[in-house]
Symmetry: D3
Subunit: 164 residues, 6 copies
Amino acid sequence: MSELIAIYPGTFDPVTHGHTDLIHRASRLFDHVIVAVAANAAKQPLFSLPQRKTLLEAVTQDIHNVSVIGFDNLLVEKAREVHARIILRGLRAVSDFEYEFQLAGINRKLDDQIETVHLMPAEQYTYLSSSMVREIARLRGDISGLVHPVVEQALKSYYEREQH
Amino acid sequence: MSELIAIYPGTFDPVTHGHTDLIHRASRLFDHVIVAVAANAAKQPLFSLPQRKTLLEAVTQDIHNVSVIGFDNLLVEKAREVHARIILRGLRAVSDFEYEFQLAGINRKLDDQIETVHLMPAEQYTYLSSSMVREIARLRGDISGLVHPVVEQALKSYYEREQH
Amino acid sequence: MSELIAIYPGTFDPVTHGHTDLIHRASRLFDHVIVAVAANAAKQPLFSLPQRKTLLEAVTQDIHNVSVIGFDNLLVEKAREVHARIILRGLRAVSDFEYEFQLAGINRKLDDQIETVHLMPAEQYTYLSSSMVREIARLRGDISGLVHPVVEQALKSYYEREQH
Amino acid sequence: MSELIAIYPGTFDPVTHGHTDLIHRASRLFDHVIVAVAANAAKQPLFSLPQRKTLLEAVTQDIHNVSVIGFDNLLVEKAREVHARIILRGLRAVSDFEYEFQLAGINRKLDDQIETVHLMPAEQYTYLSSSMVREIARLRGDISGLVHPVVEQALKSYYEREQH
Amino acid sequence: MSELIAIYPGTFDPVTHGHTDLIHRASRLFDHVIVAVAANAAKQPLFSLPQRKTLLEAVTQDIHNVSVIGFDNLLVEKAREVHARIILRGLRAVSDFEYEFQLAGINRKLDDQIETVHLMPAEQYTYLSSSMVREIARLRGDISGLVHPVVEQALKSYYEREQH
Amino acid sequence: MSELIAIYPGTFDPVTHGHTDLIHRASRLFDHVIVAVAANAAKQPLFSLPQRKTLLEAVTQDIHNVSVIGFDNLLVEKAREVHARIILRGLRAVSDFEYEFQLAGINRKLDDQIETVHLMPAEQYTYLSSSMVREIARLRGDISGLVHPVVEQALKSYYEREQH
């Protein structure tokens, strides 16, 4: 069978240990994992697209079959472009399950040859989300167990700049 | 028994095949179906209220017992005004079920004589929502199987104008 | 439009105030409401089918457009037989919502001309189910606010007989 | 055992009968209940923090072991500051259950000595939320059964001012 | 305020690390925690009521303010009998949330002076249930990280006896 | 990377078009798909294990990289035995999502090297389950669009035999 490539889309604002855990697991299953960072201008991300990509590259640099790209078009188009047959999504007991379903359904309608598969992050990351991490960082809480040190540093710098 | 009139409220920004399917089904059950388009200024709809009404009128013009109105007051007041004894809502497996419950509960508190009834759209529209349609249209994806041609054209015009 | 008949299927083992509330609401909307008691031999109901029908007839005797029947065939067949265009189901925040969806979907597959509509019981009955009522009655708890006096009496008799 | 203090955090924009019911129930269980009003600048509350505190003080003035504070730091820090061993949250069948879980999980990660406990408001308040109340008040609907008269008056004043 | 006693009901067939974790957390909050083992003859438990009580006593013997009782009447009656003002329930992201709600609602209807409070077990026990443990033990899987050694031994003995 | 083998466990009593759709999709992604039929004596399946395997072999005979096995031990043990690194599960909007989570969590606890991935069946099979199919067949309803002709025939034979 030809190479099995999975595309893992998200906003990653910023990447958390939950995301990294999922990327590690996927990298053991698939030939190549492409982390696709959505530009998502509408959501007004805290970090710019280049910053989010740089942080993802830093935290995944030790996994040889992972690469990071940005995208601002339809996910299924980007998937076809990089020859991904799998769209990978994390499925947390506490995530927005309904939204995941809607997304998988609509993506199948747009291209029935690409399958969405859901993978579960480790249980200690079940309660973790990028927005929670941003909120704790904003209030000067300890996020060292939730994100990589480079991400922790980036968040600290951001909120220090903001204060002035 | 006196005429059974159902009011079907929503933002319809824009109307999708899921909405139209529900209107068809309801028109076979009830004497009259009144599609009530919420002004919803807070949500900043993409299409204006008159535009959304015009699109709904276009896609329902072949159903004789359906009419389209706009409203910017309490739904139960509008329902009383048009003598509707039923508030009609679509119920998708992937919709915001909890929100539907809260809405039905509060509307009953406001007027216990009007019942909210939920109807299920056809399974092929389970994953369909107006916001998904807008997002795909914005990224120039194919929405021809999701909305009526007049809606498709309206979305194309909107995003072409926006680009310039 | 021709008469609008709704069929309201269930096991009703036994009928509770939640069921009766729904029947009342439905009787104000539809020309005729047919309560269809499933034989449900597999579930081994506490009350026999004739007993369950008798209790339902007792608690609905004051509503002129309601009748009670038993059935042991496919629901959509029974619905066609009695010319019902609506299958009526209660939807409680705490009910088995997923099961309701599956049932509605499969019934539509079996007959696309019959619509399942969901109606919400009054909030004070949100937590009420036949199995809860049986359990409380078995443990000699007070069920007077949960079921009609004739049902209360029938449950008392049942558990007194069982004790001997 | 030392005094058992519970902190009850929220935006309370404005306090509803659902909140008050929960505070009453909690005040019968715990030695002290501290209602902690989040500044929540990001959400752009309708009422200012001092206004929201004043309304809460008004509706809880008859309960001797309740006090109201504001906060704009991490909840677990505020909890430690006031010696609360319990974070109290309401759990409605129709509330955002998933969000509650995420919040409880992350707060435990930040301080494992503080427990989140969930309490259920009375059933008649299951469908009640601050945002629903604001929406009904904006549209001049009757909110007298949903909030305390002082809150009703405050909302009326707000929307009258806004109209001019 | 008078002593705060919590009753923690369940079938405990058998007690798992998830239950024990919850008992520990509760014992730090409340003056006394009474673990109430339901006879539950209808469910045909694997272990007898005395066996389940003995296992619970073994795994909680180091916590001074915990005691274990059996019951075969209405929970609220047992709660009143032992002067418990709190019914304690675990709330797992993957538990039967709807059932919990129904139970809390019906218990409040039976006695409005007793509050049901929900507490979350540690995240590593989110996926743990007594039925899963029984199933794994039946198939000779490793349950050493899921239950106390005395429970592990009891399950082994049970399935060895069954095989002969 | 070494061969990617997925094991797809279930009771398959009987196999439906929903299962077959999932097997087809998986066969396009993975090198080998092993359908593992659980003996499940406790559930008292309608068809025997050999019968269920025969039906599965019949409906998957045209897919070259699929094989069918039975098992009566721990799933993770069977997975290791056949060198599967993936446990495949279908995820329907209306399926028992919570149960899926619990299962995936416990299987990871038993063997962290095997990942559970969830795949969505085609939308027209969202409402389909083996138990629904059995119920409709029992009541002589039309199941021709829900299962393969050989399964339809097997169910007819079963219920004809039962009637005599």
